[in-house]
Symmetry: C2
Subunit: 239 residues, 2 copies
DNA sequence: GCGCCGATCTATCAAATGTTAGCGCGCTCT
DNA sequence: AGAGCGCGCTAACATTTGATAGATCGGCGC
């Protein structure tokens, strides 16, 4: 059941059987959420962290004028709020974008991992660092890429991340979001989001129907996005 | 000399004398950089992490069309590349925006801290998590705030962060950047950056001359920015 | 079958943002 | 003192993006 987590953490360095069993002990208490439900509420002080087993979730913040901005998308194998273990108070919410099955990690058990399992601790730390690297890439995309390039970059990133946890089929992946939700990722109006999607479609590099994205020309998509996966740290080396 | 670091880490939880001395052992090898110099090069694989003692630095990425985007600003007491300890390869550069004095932390010594000093490890981890929280706040600002609000938010954040390390004087702080560099923070053209600055100035909440920003009306600035410092985790509690 | 409703898509106009160009001020270098 | 230069600032115009409105389409409940 923790296969996605093992695939995710294990892509960066090898996980020993002992570490896998520690993770097994750590994760307990499965829960389910329907699309649109809050998985973690802004302002709360969780006593456990949440790992996604199935589904798509997003971190978000809502402004006074009602505008919403997603600051990350979370796929199976991702901890959505591992940092809450040390940050204590959630300064944003996490919402399920599709039906989500999650499993919980007690903060007290996490703490004991930091006391006793330094290598596993480093791998968990690394997981949050990659989170940060993705944030930086998003900042660059929002600030200096064209909107079409930004969208292309997002699709590249999602494809690669989903491939790691075996959630792609061929060059396709499931993306259960509306255009309005995607607009909250890129920071655009819905109307303009639609224009940008049309432009990327018309360039013939992707197809998107029935909540499924298909990459028709990976090379060209990567070119449009100037996508360089270095920031995802997908090499296996001692950490 | 490590006063800024102690102030920075110590704001979240108390640092024992032993931990301070571990940090003293960790940091060795002072260096200086002039404004405009790269402190860490993109693509490099550093064997030490860098702490800022004095000066202002920024993480950045350059795109194919020459556009540059800063993804963070780093002030005294900040590790600019603590994550490189686990991420291994720099996917972006770090540049000195003003003359910078820095000090280095050997990755092998960092590793031994993770093996022997769990609480200090958690505090270092926390430091990178706050980095991530700031990134998320920037994403929200870029996506959904008005440009004036974004700038106001940046000033609020900088003021608070500089205050922690005692680099403010009254309601003023030193901000040694040109408008072009600030444009690379907000992701704007220089011309529009100038318009946004003028607008914030005309609203009477800040003054900015000689590289010094003075907050004239903190309450109103905070209102314009919708600034809530929760994400900076400035409460002292067990971590 | 019928009607409702959310989602996609389009059209039109308004506002925000970028581009190019140029002026003036205060440096520093000689 | 004069030249050169980075920087702040402005003007005019082009392009991108947003707001409002409405059409179309398909799923779903009654």
């Amino acid at each position: 059941m923790l296969e996605s987590l093992f695939l995710n953490l294990g892509q960066h360095d090898s996980l020993s059987d002992e570490e896998k069993s520690l993770l097994g002990d750590l994760m307990a208490g499965e829960r389910s959420f329907t699309a649109g439900q809050d998985i973690v509420a802004s302002g709360s002080r969780p006593v456990y962290s949440t790992l996604i087993l199935d589904g798509l979730a997003a971190r978000y913040k809502v402004l006074a004028d009602g505008g919403r901005q997603f600051s990350s998308l979370q796929v199976p194998g991702d901890f959505v709020d591992l940092y809450a273990f040390l940050l204590k108070t959630m300064d944003h919410g996490v919402i399920a974008l599709s039906p989500c099955r999650v499993i919980l990690a007690d903060h007290s058990k996490l703490r004991s991992i930091t006391e006793r399992a330094p290598h596993l601790t480093r791998l968990l730390w690394l997981d949050t660092l990659i989170d940060g690297a993705i944030h930086r890439e998003w900042i660059v995309a929002m600030g200096r890429r064209s909107k079409v390039s930004h969208l292309a970059h997002l699709f590249c990133e999602l494809f690669v991340r989903l491939e790691v946890v075996k959630r792609t089929s061929g060059m396709s992946f499931h993306l259960p979001v509306s255009q309005a939700e995607l607009a909250d990722v890129l920071g655009l109006s819905v109307v303009h989001m639609n224009r940008v999607i049309s432009a990327l479609r018309n360039s013939g590099v992707i197809a998107w129907a029935n909540h499924t994205v298909t990459i028709l020309d990976w090379r060209k998509l990567q070119q449009i996005a100037e996508f360089d996966p270095t920031y995802l740290s997908m090499t296996r080396e001692p950490r």
